[in-house]
């Protein structure tokens, strides 16, 4: 644990990519195989659940610290991280820390699920007593944390590739899919030279870069394909060994969530991997994303949901054909094979090709681009006909050309402190527009979009203009105006404004505007009706 806690602390301390890769690489070169496997489990977001209740853990920690719950909560609001809060509040009994290794701690935690509440409490307390402050923090992350420390999977893959002297594409593929540390070893997962027979394993997704400057800078129009950029769930559909697997980009195996697509196991040839977008689809066209949202996250798909939000798969790439990895072929070649597979399938409205847009020069695309919203698309995808299918976000061959976001000017009315790097600063804002009764109606929460200097100024204003406190939320004097951009807009009965916007973000601070000059609910409704 000492070694891992130190790795964690050092990763936390630097924001230089190369330094992070070096730290990870050194860890992968020096830790035991067992520990490496567990570290990888954490870094790839596969931390097992130990069936602990966060509220209970908070109560135990507050009890041990000898403080009431409200004071615990206040502390938590200030720190912004539960694991860290607990580590700071507990009485310090151990300065030296624990000699148990990372994997030993995981085995220790593995005993929790079968325990009674009281046993769980004792078990966790005993761990806390053995650990130093920083180790307690890391332990709490293993116990119940979201493991966000600014290390992307790409970085981990790079470090692991360097440490094992293996090609990073191979490593990226190996750490994907379904595996859990209890069912495999580091040796099997990473070092096994023979092709691991893991039928469900997806390929790493190839991601596009946003287009910079003018589309004509890409060169000759004839060298490129263009498709609509669908607003759905990026997915891979795998059919191997007579079994169907549906993976989403979040690396979630979601086969069960899309029963409409299960027929594919009867029609796809053995050894097929498709890349495309799952969208809600009716009457031959996609529906807005918020319809899809109604069924994401649901455990049980009721008949009603399936009727109101049916999905279809829009395929745009073929990664494996007849059991052979064809990512090295060109985009054009893969498209031809994809079309052949689609043609061989008896016509089915749930399996469609994402159509290629016909164009001979860039001007035609520019003219078509503003029609994206009517086509329920977010813009275009531009793909080089000669390009291979690569790993991760690479510049050069795949571009996304998104439409400008919709926007309104809104007034900042509520603020809440951020967490992590921004704990102690008010960074989470709620914005309002003028309602029909002349009162401000909240309609969106947004976090990103301001520079650090602007955040400092807004924070300064908020701290001096608090009207009321509700727990961590502050009501702020309505004075600052911001231009809020968003990708989509829909009616919503859950929101007071009657409107839900998608991906709201701050485009800029309108220092030139007074609160009275902000937009109204009416203007939001206008936008809504023009894009319905």
């Amino acid at each position: 644990m000492k070694q891992f806690a130190e790795l964690f602390m050092n990763l936390d301390r630097t924001n230089k990519t190369n330094a992070k890769v070096d730290l990870l690489k050194n860890y992968f070169l020096s830790a035991t195989d067992d520990d490496k496997l567990w570290a990888l489990t954490l870094f790839t977001g596969r931390r097992p659940s130990f069936k602990v209740n966060r509220t209970q853990v908070k109560e135990w920690a507050a009890g041990e610290a000898g403080i009431p719950m409200w004071l615990f909560q206040e502390s938590y609001h200030s720190v912004g991280d539960l694991g860290e809060t607990i580590s700071l509040l507990l009485p310090r009994t151990s300065l030296g820390g624990s000699d148990k290794s990372l994997s030993e701690w995981f085995r220790y935690l593995g005993m929790l699920p079968g325990m009674t509440d009281e046993e769980k409490r004792d078990h966790i307390m005993q761990a806390w007593m053995q650990l130093s402050q920083h180790e307690t923090f890391v332990f709490n992350k293993l116990l119940m944390g979201s493991f966000r420390i600014g290390v992307s999977q790409t970085l981990v893959v790079r470090a692991l590739a360097e440490a094992t002297e293996t090609d990073s594409n191979v490593i990226a593929h190996r750490v994907m899919g379904q595996w859990d540390p209890q069912g495999t070893t580091f040796e099997q997962l990473i070092l096994d030279k023979g092709e691991n027979d893991n039928a469900s394993r997806p390929y790493p997704f190839f991601l596009a870069y946003p287009i910079e400057g003018d589309v004509a800078d890409l060169g000759e129009a004839q060298d490129w394909f263009a498709e609509w950029k669908w607003d759905g769930i990026r997915s891979q559909i795998i059919y191997r060994n007579k079994e169907l697997f549906i993976w989403t980009r979040g690396e979630e195996l979601s086969t069960e969530k899309f029963p409409e697509l299960h027929f594919l196991s009867d029609v796809l040839p053995e050894g097929t991997v498709l890349d495309g977008e799952i969208v809600t689809y009716a009457n031959g066209r996609p529906m807005p994303f918020n319809v899809l949202q109604t069924r994401i996250g649901r455990k049980n798909l009721s008949k009603k949901v399936l009727e109101e939000a049916p999905v279809a798969f829009l395929a745009y790439d073929l990664l494996e054909a007849n059991g052979v990895d064809i990512r090295g072929l060109t985009q054009a070649q893969r498209r031809t094979q994809l079309e052949a597979i689609h043609a061989s399938v008896p016509v089915q409205s749930h399996f469609n090709l994402s159509p290629l847009i016909a164009f001979t020069n860039w001007q035609q695309l520019r003219e078509l681009h503003p029609q994206s919203r009517e086509n329920i698309a977010e813009g275009f995808m531009i793909k080089r006909k000669a390009s291979t299918y690569q790993v991760g976000r690479k510049k050069g061959d795949w571009w996304k050309w998104k439409i400008d976001p919709l926007s309104v000017d809104a007034v900042l009315i509520y603020a809440q402190k951020g967490s992590g790097r921004r704990a102690e600063l008010f960074t989470d804002y709620t914005f309002a527009v003028w309602g029909d009764d002349g009162k401000l109606v909240p309609f969106a929460k947004a976090y990103s979009g301001l520079t650090d200097a602007e955040i400092g100024q807004v924070d300064y204003f908020i701290k001096r203009n608090v009207l009321e406190k509700f727990g961590p939320v502050r009501t702020v004097k309505p004075e600052l105006v911001f231009e809020i951009g968003f990708e989509g807009i829909n009616e919503s009965s859950r929101h007071k404004s009657g409107i839900a916007v998608r991906f709201p973000r701050i485009l800029r601070w309108r220092k030139d505007k007074k609160a009275e000059e902000a937009d109204s609910l009416e203007s939001l409704r206008d936008i809504l009706s023009s894009y319905k």
């Binding site: 700071l88 310090r92 992590g420 704990a423 300064y460 204003f461 001096r464 030139d512």
Partner: protein, 369 residues
């Protein structure tokens, strides 16, 4: 009619009406008692100042050589309009004092900023028994528990040694008044030249001239040969972070000394190489201890986590109330540099308001036309 309290919180000072004396006023007044020389407590423009004698060099440096300043020693009693005053060590920085005010058998103590641990430079804190105690609460949350000073100092020693080995300069940041003297008195000084930014150099020189035992510092100037910085310790105020001034030390490592470094978020936001958790304010356990030791019947909680700490005291059988003072409200002011940041932010905000008002007027004019 209930009699008026001995000390009142006017929003601009802590005011004793009977004596007509203001403690740490933010506006020019006739008679001011200053708890310590940090710029959010010692303000410009009053006709008469009174402070502890160890505060004199810095007060004159910051408020002007010719201010009308009377100094006293700790425990020395003096009367103003029939009210008995005395200053007692607060342990915060050199010359820092708690102000004891006694009138008709009632004793109030305004403690200013304070810490209990002996820092080997400021006269150590002494508890003063009183009926009413006015306390700060800068770090008034149970998450703040300081390590013993010696442990933090060894961390600094270790960091400096590591950088020396790697041929890097060690740029150590902290407040120029208080933190830097504390560091100089407690780290293991090597037999080398110690470099300093002007802000720190000036304070150090002034204190040395006044006879305080502090090592000599060398001012970093444009002419200083950059090669000399390799392995050296360079003392800098936090405001030097991110300036071109700091770039001349490359290769260097930045260490930052502050109580806020206890939190990961604060540490990462500053993006320093090494955060040292070192504060001249009381942590949570010492804050509670200090309040208990005064045996006060009533506690007023000022700058910091005022509402939280007063609620905590009330729940633990000590009558307490939060007071809004000018020493900061919800934000986490720790002395001078932060106040300067705030001043900059206010200025830019005021500018913004003026712009708005100006435009509004333009609009009006347009309408009139």
């Amino acid at each position: 009619m209930p009699k008026q309290p001995l000390l009142q919180f006017t929003g601009k000072s802590i005011y004793c009406a009977v004596a007509d004396v203001h403690i740490d006023p933010w506006i020019p007044v006739g008679r001011a008692i200053i708890t310590h020389a940090h710029s959010d407590h010692a303000r410009w423009g009053s006709q008469h100042y009174l402070a502890h004698k160890d505060s004199e060099p810095i007060l004159r440096l910051r408020l002007g050589q010719d201010i009308n300043l009377q100094t006293v020693g700790y425990g020395e009693k003096f009367m103003i309009n029939g009210v008995k005053f005395s200053l007692h060590p607060a342990g915060h920085i050199i010359g820092s004092a708690q102000v004891r005010v006694e009138y008709q058998g009632e004793v109030w103590v305004a403690s200013g900023d304070y810490k209990l641990e002996n820092d080997n430079f400021a006269t150590p804190y002494e508890p003063v028994k009183c009926h009413v105690f006015i306390t700060e609460s800068t770090f008034g949350l149970p998450i703040y528990k300081w390590q013993p000073q010696q442990q933090v100092m060894s961390e600094i020693d270790h960091w400096w040694a590591q950088n020396r080995m790697e041929g890097k300069a060690s740029v150590l940041m902290g407040y120029s008044l208080g933190k830097m003297q504390r560091i100089l008195k407690n780290i293991q000084l090597q037999d080398t030249v110690l470099y300093a930014h002007g802000a720190i150099y000036t304070v150090n020189e002034r204190l040395r001239e006044a006879g305080f035992d502090l090592p000599e510092l060398t001012l970093v100037t444009k002419e200083t040969d950059r090669k000399l910085f390799r392995g050296a310790l360079v003392l800098a105020p936090p405001s030097a972070d991110g300036t071109t001034w700091i770039k001349k030390f490359a290769p260097y490592s930045v260490g930052y000394c502050s109580g806020w470094m206890a939190l990961r978020g604060a540490k990462n936001r500053r993006a320093v190489d090494q955060g040292f958790v070192l504060s001249d304010h009381v942590d949570w356990p010492d804050l509670n201890r200090a309040v208990k030791e005064t045996c006060a019947e009533k506690v007023f909680v000022t700058h910091g986590y005022t509402s939280i700490f007063s609620r905590w005291l009330n729940e633990n059988g000590i009558e307490a109330a939060e007071v809004t003072t000018m020493y900061g409200n919800e934000d986490e002011n720790e002395e001078e540099e932060v106040v300067q940041d705030a001043a900059v932010a206010t200025a830019s905000y005021e500018e913004h308001k003026q712009e708005l008002d100006g435009e509004a007027k333009d609009n009006e004019n347009r309408l009139e036309r």
